[in-house]
């Protein structure tokens, strides 16, 4: 697999949300607005990129039997960095995402990429894989957040489109399932016809 494919597969062919159905907890939990989805996606992208780089570099020094705890420590460190930096410089977004930032540690996409890709591949391939997977995840969260915000609040990125109440259901948790289901169906349709 060449480097271009390592990067691009995260967007469409192996998109974490739409194809692998991984990381459903933040996907459903934080996407009530487009900006929340994007913020969560980019925070996860940073963690994925950095943890993939570091894990691909240290994989030779970590004995097989303790690789999982070692990976988790590395991932948790980067998540804490994101948490602290966000609390200091983006307090409003940090408050919105709240508990979901520390929960990136147990996001199965991050550990999944570490196990399945970074621990078997070189540093450049791993970096591209992490970046592509992360941006694909961010794209999916942004799409889902946009759909929910438009339908539920009749606004996009906080800008009101029509001065009226939206369909409240889409802001509430059940709306996340509905919107995600229709988005996956749509993506599958596009893939089949393309």
């Amino acid at each position: 697999m060449n480097n271009m494919q390592n990067f691009s597969k995260g967007f469409f062919k192996e998109n974490a949300v739409f194809v692998q159905l991984l990381g459903m907890c933040p996907t459903l939990g934080v996407t009530s607005t487009a900006i929340n989805g994007l913020g969560m996606g980019l925070a996860t992208t940073f963690v994925l990129l950095m943890s993939n780089i570091v894990i691909s570099l240290v994989k030779g020094f970590i004995p097989d039997k303790v690789r999982i705890p070692a990976f988790i420590v590395i991932i948790a460190s980067f998540v804490t960095v994101v948490d602290l930096v966000m609390a200091g410089y983006l307090p409003a977004l940090h408050e919105q995402l709240g508990l979901f930032i520390p929960l990136i540690v147990v996001n199965c996409i991050v550990l999944g990429r570490a196990e399945a890709f970074a621990s078997k591949n070189g540093v450049i391939a791993s970096a591209l894989d992490g970046l592509g997977m992360g941006l694909g995840f961010a794209m999916a969260l942004f799409m889902l957040g946009s759909v929910r915000e438009i339908l539920g609040n009749l606004s996009i990125l906080g800008i009101k489109l029509v001065d009226a109440d939206g369909i409240l259901l889409f802001i509430l948790p059940p709306g996340a399932f509905l919107a995600l289901g229709f988005l996956i169906a749509f993506i599958n349709h596009v893939k089949k016809t393309a």
């Binding site: 004995p63 097989d64 303790v66 460190s77 804490t80 609390a87 307090p91 509430l172």
Partner: protein, 193 residues
């Protein structure tokens, strides 16, 4: 690259090294972000105080004092807004544990006579689109300028004067309760200078 063998020494030493490096790096990042985090928290507090009290020339955060809540071990934080030595109004950080999603934290601005100057919503986990509407002016205006001594802060359903938010009676109840707590604690707990 050949993997290191999983001997006890290799396992222990590699984990020690990984955790040592990670904790050193995190300590460094913590030191770097400590200042900005404290500044962001303070800015948020001052913003909410500014929202509920007007006209002051002291620093309400420095002058903060606590009043114990009656029949409870907790206390409320009071931020007095003074002009010279005269207390113009007090911003009281109050809460109700009976929100739909746990505690609802409010900042209530009370004039010395007990009139509500303004209310700011600080923290809550109410339902988006229903309970979150407590921050709308339409709802808050029912409280602003009124005195809880004469205004019954319960919702109409419970025999009070407050028109509850549709679909969010519990949130409306908690909102009134939090203000009542601030008023009771402030008027009974002594408005010391």
């Amino acid at each position: 690259m050949a993997k290191k063998e999983s001997t006890l020494f290799n396992m222990v030493s590699s984990l020690v090294v990984v955790t040592l490096i990670a904790s050193t790096a995190l300590g460094y990042v913590y030191e770097l972000t400590k200042g900005p985090i404290a500044a962001a928290k303070l800015a948020k507090k001052i913003r909410s105080i500014d929202e509920v009290v007007v006209e002051y020339d002291n620093n309400p955060v420095d002058d903060m004092y606590k009043i114990p809540i009656e029949n409870s071990e907790d206390s409320l934080e009071v931020y007095p807004a003074k002009k010279g030595e005269k207390v113009m109004a007090s911003a009281i950080r109050t809460y109700s544990p009976k929100g739909y999603g746990g505690n609802v934290w409010l900042m209530v601005g009370l004039l010395p006579n007990g009139n509500i100057q303004n209310v700011a919503v600080l923290e809550h986990k109410e339902t988006p689109g229903l309970g979150t509407k407590m921050d709308n002016d339409e709802f808050k205006n029912q409280f602003i300028g009124k005195n809880p001594a004469s205004l019954n802060l319960k919702v109409i359903k419970d025999g009070g004067d407050i028109d509850a938010l549709s679909g969010a009676t519990i949130t409306s109840r908690a909102f009134g309760q939090a203000i009542q707590l601030a008023f009771d604690t402030y008027t009974k707990g002594g408005q010391h200078e």
